[in-house]
């Protein structure tokens, strides 16, 4: 994986007496102290992190923690006080005015919380706005804009004006505008916060799809841990302008860096309410007392899985078998499934709370077997299901 964006020791201070405030910040003075002594506000305090190409990187934190400031320094809407912003190895803080404009046109697009569509432009012209600024000829830019509008499912609305569309639709237009410019990087500042829950979930799914289809590098600000867990390949938590922790969703949930992160996570009460039985699914199984490797393989093919759970007549859990082992077995002409069974798979009880499952799920490649007191196989839990449940997706 190549690094797309690297932020190196970036500080932003608003107001006067900047050099004094900066010195205090580097000596670990708190944001309040600095404000009291100098009147300057620390927006971002010595932040460093890396974002890989093609990942969805979520920045989280309470109001005023510096998320928007950080994001706006990535495209230099806000100049840094000190530090470096490297995008594809180029330091943005050193670019001249012209180069910066060029860079913004080619490399980055932004999606705004309140959509920021031009009220005097039609939807299609709004989507084509980035291309218009690049000086692309009208027919061509409208063609590209139509394509982008189609991706977000609003093909028929090109001739309308923003005020004629609902919030959810306007945000799709905002996303289409970003896609039309065809930049590698998308910057999204609480892009879904203004949407109602239903629209929001739809947009989240849409974004995940777009990211996997188009392999964009997305920096996404969110207030909402559930959203962050659902979307983020990595999550960065900020507090008072400082980076508190950066990691995968699992790392942050299972291994919070400090009390602050822990408190932040506690908001996800669902981990206490939801249990294994809420997220388990029916596995492909084979009865060892009746069937051999061929049935097992057919069952796996029928269920489109690459492994199978082996049970006895009473559906007691016996073990787990992998498709490649089973087909080896068939090739050797053996009929004995037992020889390839793995008996030592991670297990859980139906009533185990989800938060206790998290570390287990994140460290193993094999789905968890959910067994009751008498070792009956009740279901299995795949890794994605736990995170999805924590992120607030429907659970039946």
């Amino acid at each position: 994986m190549s690094v797309e964006i690297e932020v190196k020791n970036v500080t932003k201070i608003f107001g006067k007496q900047i050099s004094k405030a900066k010195k205090m910040a580097s000596q670990e003075a708190s944001k309040e102290e600095i404000l009291a002594k100098t009147g300057a506000t620390v927006g971002v305090d010595q932040a460093s992190f890396k974002i890989n190409r093609g990942e969805l990187f979520v920045i989280m934190g309470l109001s005023g923690s510096g998320k928007s400031t950080m994001l706006r320094m990535i495209n230099q809407l806000i100049p840094v006080t000190s530090g470096q912003i490297l995008v594809e190895g180029k330091d943005l803080t050193k670019l001249g005015k012209k180069e910066l404009i060029e860079f913004r046109r080619e490399k980055m697009s932004m999606v705004f919380q309140n959509f920021a569509l031009l009220p005097h432009y039609t939807i299609l012209d709004n989507v084509a706005f980035g291309l218009e600024l690049q000086g692309i000829e009208k027919n061509e830019r409208l063609k590209k804009a139509k394509k982008a509008l189609k991706i977000v499912g609003l093909s028929g609305y090109g001739t309308q004006y923003p005020s004629q569309l609902s919030g959810g639709m306007q945000q799709r237009v905002g996303l289409a505008r970003a896609l039309a410019s065809n930049t590698q990087i998308l910057l999204m500042d609480e892009a879904f916060s203004a949407l109602d829950p239903l629209n929001r979930k739809e947009m989240q799914d849409e974004l995940l799809k777009i990211q996997s289809d188009l392999n964009k590098t997305i920096v996404f600000i969110s207030h909402d841990l559930n959203e962050a867990l659902k979307l983020g390949d990595h999550i960065m938590i900020m507090r008072n302008g400082m980076v508190v922790q950066t990691g995968t969703p699992e790392e942050i949930l299972t291994n919070p860096a400090n009390d602050y992160v822990e408190k932040f996570i506690e908001e996800v009460d669902r981990t206490r309410v939801l249990t294994a039985s809420n997220v388990m699914i029916n596995p492909a199984t084979v009865n060892i007392e009746k069937s051999g490797p061929r049935t097992a393989l057919r069952e796996m093919q029928a269920n489109n899985t690459s492994s199978i759970y082996v049970v006895d007549n009473q559906r007691h859990f016996i073990g787990w078998a992998d498709a490649s082992d089973v087909s080896n077995l068939i090739r050797k002409g053996s009929k004995d499934l037992k020889s390839v069974l793995m008996r030592n798979v991670p297990v859980a009880h139906p009533d185990t709370p989800l938060n206790e499952l998290l570390s287990e799920v994140s460290t193993t490649q094999i789905p968890l077997a959910v067994l009751d007191e008498d070792s009956h196989l009740k279901g299995i839990i795949v890794r994605g299901a736990v995170l999805a449940a924590l992120a607030g997706d429907e659970v039946e």
């Binding site: 913004r104 932004m110 031009l118 690049q134």
Partner: protein
């Protein structure tokens, strides 16, 4: 003490005015510029028969306000303009109109760019704002004195005084309108790589348009309110008739001419409003 201060301020300003008078070349150029603009307007109005003028005014109103109730206004315009024509003030009315349009044209040419500059730079705003306050609060009569000193009497000094008096709303409202454009729209333009000119033309001016137009029509009204004062330094027009009537203590004549000014003001105001509302 106070007397000395007043006396020295007076002396200082007088010597400043004296000092300025060495730039006669510059003043002559300005004067020529203004009077040629005024001449063009007056030439058009003199060419235009009164009936055609009335038809044009009614037509503009009719077509630009298509979907609104407008018959009241149309009736008013018709009767009002007929009144001015019948009482024999038609030429005075066009002279007044020439003064107003000439002053406003110059106000817009200077005021809108100045307002834009002010919106883009806090330093400029800091300097220009008190000057505007001063221009607006200083009694309009005072402008007549230097205007006469540099430009003699007639239409040009009247226009100069009107320009100074009518300038502030256009500058202010242009500044305000551009500063009021929502930040996220400006950010959107910046983040997609707009240069300063693109941002101004595609985002800021269109969104500031209605505020700027409000300033534009305020300036128009202020310029019109200068006509009586300007007549004191020999600018011809309806104001002249009012000024004469006052001199002769003739309330009836004063009222007749005053009414013509009111009619003109209402028509100008309504017409500039329709320009504002046009989508």
């Amino acid at each position: 003490m106070t007397l000395t201060i007043a006396a020295s301020l007076e002396k200082w300003i007088n010597s400043f005015v004296d000092w300025l008078s060495q730039f006669t070349g510059v003043f002559n150029a300005i004067s020529d510029g203004i009077s040629s603009i005024a001449n063009v307007f007056q030439w058009i109005f003199d060419l235009l028969p009164a009936w055609l003028f009335i038809v044009l005014v009614l037509g503009t109103t009719y077509f630009s306000k298509r979907h609104e109730k407008k018959y009241g206004l149309l009736t008013f315009e018709l009767l009002g303009l007929l009144y001015i024509w019948v009482i024999g003030y038609w030429r005075d009315m066009t002279q007044t109109l020439t003064l107003v349009l000439t002053s406003c044209l110059i106000v817009y040419i200077i005021g809108i760019p100045l307002g834009i500059w002010m919106a883009k730079s806090n330093a400029v705003q800091l300097i220009v704002r008190p000057i505007l306050d001063f221009m607006q609060t200083m009694p309009a009569f005072v402008y007549l004195i230097p205007a006469v000193a540099f430009f003699g009497i007639g239409t040009v000094p009247g226009a100069i005084a009107s320009i100074i008096f009518a300038m502030p709303p256009t500058v202010r409202m242009t500044n305000l309108g551009i500063r009021q454009v929502p930040t996220d729209l400006v950010e959107a333009a910046d983040s997609y790589g707009a240069n300063g000119w693109q941002k101004l033309i595609k985002v800021q001016l269109p969104l500031a348009r209605s505020t700027i137009m409000a300033g534009v029509s305020q300036s128009l009204m202020l310029a019109l309110s200068m006509v009586v004062i300007a007549s004191m330094i020999g600018t011809l027009g309806l104001g002249t008739q009012v000024y004469f009537a006052v001199g002769r203590n003739n309330a009836g004549a004063g009222f007749t001419a005053g009414l013509a000014i009111v009619i003109l003001a209402i028509i100008i105001d309504r017409m500039s409003n329709t320009l504002q509302k046009k989508k």
